[in-house]
Assembly symmetry: C2
Homo-oligomer: 455 residues x 2
């Protein structure tokens, strides 16, 4: 067998529907709550922020939701995404395991994010939205929304976590190239931002703060909506094209995974690959192991509380039940690997709570080691986020080597690292460490999570 | 017709041979000369630097040279490369012209360079080479050779133009990720480097200087060879897979170019797309226009002398007859668009001299404008080098709009710009200018071109 083993699908095999795992859950997740009333929110609560079509997707229980043809047309620019057998990595590890990866780095912005940015921009355009606000950490989401929105002639204002804004001028330029406006958060543009700056003028910012600013700006203007790059049900729904394509490609390979792995920050790329497999586990009684991998410095699933919490720092969003480190949690600035959100997709949290998926956390240096090993065998430099999944895949493959087992491992290579070479530079310069987070700060942010009666 | 129009070839259509235009030239180019004797060089002169297989390709007159199967196997990782119809760009320009682009940015390092890095590493490995030295400007070539050499377990030492080394830490990290050693040139490691530093301690470096260092290191060691990313015949030969695939994809489109455009620094990506079309012009009497586009700040083809000159600054290489600005020419450091070499592929120069191709130069700001317009319509941020080709393609399309003509334009999108966002950052920050070069410096470097009797 050659060392270059790839499985390509014809364009006609781009999925025609998104897969909605809500239809297959043994019990539904609890609904988001209005923080003022403690009652489940309704479409009217979300209407200032999202177009009706996305609100409908957020609450739907239909198993398949049709992908509009104009969205599939744009997907065709880079999809179907390739799936590779990592033969060179297997040989380098000298493992009997078979390792496959779905490579989402082929999109125009280099990651899985356009899979949802494009439909979100489309549905907004259909309903007459003129401007969309959003937050972004290292810039991958902001660039993807900027790319998608310019296709439909919609303006984009991106609130970018300040420390990333300063460390990552190239992502800013990328957003500018696509025509978006990029603001360092916390900023003076919103009440939320001004409140943070008053208390912590040197705040490095966080996704939670940036969400507050973006939400506040959208809620205040009729022609402006808000867009989120992860966490919400409709975002994870859009990402399921990843797993649907992968299932067909694994069929082409004549193989089927024993283990499916994805890195998890807000949960969307993990869900994209994994949810079709979780759904199949549920419906067909299969026992594929599904592993979400997060950074040790932002250990939402492994050390967070599973409870109702705000999605943002200024507490402007509804309360959602998810694993949370507390909405004021700010990961260490030296953490280079992305996946920095204090919360998690409520659906992913629900699956963990039901025992349908596993979670593990990884120290960042071992992740970069895995990333470099992957680059040196497979030729693609992975996004720092994706190195968490690679680390787990390599560890499972080494476990197979120890036990002499030939398991099939499939992971999501959610993006390439070409925009994030600063992180690799710091890694090679020895500037990274595994200092995770301040235990007292974590205790404080967890203590601040609201007590909600209606659970 | 949809706006997403792409033409994909099956893997089996990766060419099985490289196309050697030497077989179709109406008159052969003159041979390189040994600077000491003034006589044509022979294989023994090149043997300290290159493996015999590549020397053979350098001088061959065979029309088709077989691509070894192990090389095709690695090509399969990303080839065949897609060809797109730029419908959105056409609409944005409101032009009747049809614009197509061959997208080479799909390779692991984001440009066309691995097309030659891989065979060069392969042929070196076959002949027992342990280490390869090379030069690189902004880092695209160095990363590509690093990527290719690690597949075969060969060490790589890259001499990187100093100003690029300082401005482009991410390319350094990329090379390090692939396991290569990267040195800022001029360096203290070689006589050539030390000589430059003695005279110009603050030299920003140039490709010519970096070539001198890399050549000197290779010539001095038996287990070490040298590799060049452009200019030489065998390098251009390898790149012809681009044009061969494109011809088949244009057939799929039911179209045929009236104009073929590529940016030109050393000539390899231009030749890759254009040479199959030039060859077809010659053999079949067709009149497809072939346009090489270079930066106004390094105007080799449009303002250089067509004469014998050294390929490097320390005058260690043979003399080759090419368009040259003089081997001591150093483009302005503020030039952000790549394509900075003082010389040109002798084959490309020969074709210009024979009137078989055209050449034009472009100011950099208009190139970045074209790049941004391309990104905003087609979604891909082009490499600064490629923006020269885009500028010319847009100009030809606007010419068609004026004349009401529906010409078919094909250009090479030689790479993406995701590693070169500093250039876009500087463009948006207004730091770029069209200050081309010092006229006196150009006059001096041209005056220093050796007088060679045997022309």
């Amino acid at each position: 067998m050659s060392d270059t083993v790839k499985y390509l699908l014809d364009e006609s095999r781009i999925p025609k529907t998104w897969y909605n795992i809500a239809a297959d859950l043994p019990e539904p997740p609890v609904p988001p709550l209005h923080p003022g009333t403690g009652q489940p929110i309704g479409p009217d609560d979300l209407a200032p922020l999202f177009p009706m079509a996305l609100i409908g997707q957020e609450v739907s229980a239909e198993r398949e939701i049709e992908i509009p043809e104009p969205v599939r047309e744009i997907y065709r620019q880079w999809r179907p995404a390739p799936l590779y057998r990592a033969r060179r990595l297997e040989k380098a590890l000298d493992t009997p395991a078979k390792i496959y990866y779905k490579y989402e780095g082929v999109s125009p912005t280099g990651s899985h994010k356009p899979n949802t940015a494009v439909p979100q921009a489309f549905f907004n355009a259909e309903e007459g939205t003129k401007r969309i606000t959003t937050e972004t950490g290292a810039g991958q989401w902001g660039s993807s929304l900027a790319y998608a929105a310019q296709i439909f002639g919609i303006e984009v204002d991106v609130y970018m976590v300040k420390i990333s804004f300063q460390q990552n001028p190239y992502r800013r330029s990328l957003m500018q190239t696509y025509g978006a406006r990029c603001v360092a958060s916390p900023s003076e543009e919103t009440n939320s931002g001004r409140a943070i700056l008053a208390e912590h003028p040197d705040s490095p910012g966080s996704l939670g703060i940036a969400i507050s600013e973006a939400v506040e700006m959208a809620a205040g203007r009729d022609d402006t909506k808000y867009s989120l790059g992860s966490v919400l049900n409709h975002v994870l729904l859009h990402q399921t094209i990843i797993g649907q394509e992968a299932m067909e490609q694994m069929d082409m390979a004549g193989d089927d995974p024993d283990i499916v792995i994805g890195c998890a920050g807000g949960g969307s790329n993990f869900a994209g690959l994994a949810f079709p497999y979780v759904g199949r586990n549920i419906r067909e009684g299969k026992k594929v192991r599904i592993i979400a991998v997060e950074p040790a410095s932002c250990p939402t699933l492994t050390r967070g509380k599973f409870t109702y919490d705000f999605g943002d720092t200024a507490n402007l969003t509804p309360l959602v039940k998810m694993h949370t480190l507390g909405s004021s949690f700010v990961p260490s600035p030296i953490h280079a690997g992305g996946l920095r959100y204090h919360g998690m997709s409520p659906l992913v949290s629900h699956l963990l709570d039901l025992g349908l998926i596993e979670a593990r956390s990884q120290d960042q240096i071992e992740c970069f080691e895995a990333g470099v090993q992957f680059a040196r065998s497979e030729g693609i430099v992975p996004a720092p986020e994706s190195t968490h999944a690679i680390r787990a895949a390599i560890d499972e493959a080494l476990e197979c080597k120890k036990n002499g087992e030939s398991k099939t491992i499939l992971f999501n290579l959610s993006g390439h690292g070409y925009f994030d070479m600063q992180a690799y530079t710091d890694y090679f310069d020895g500037k990274l460490s595994d200092e995770a987070y301040d235990e007292d700060a974590l205790a404080r942010s967890l203590a601040a999570v609201p007590e909600v009666a209606a659970e």
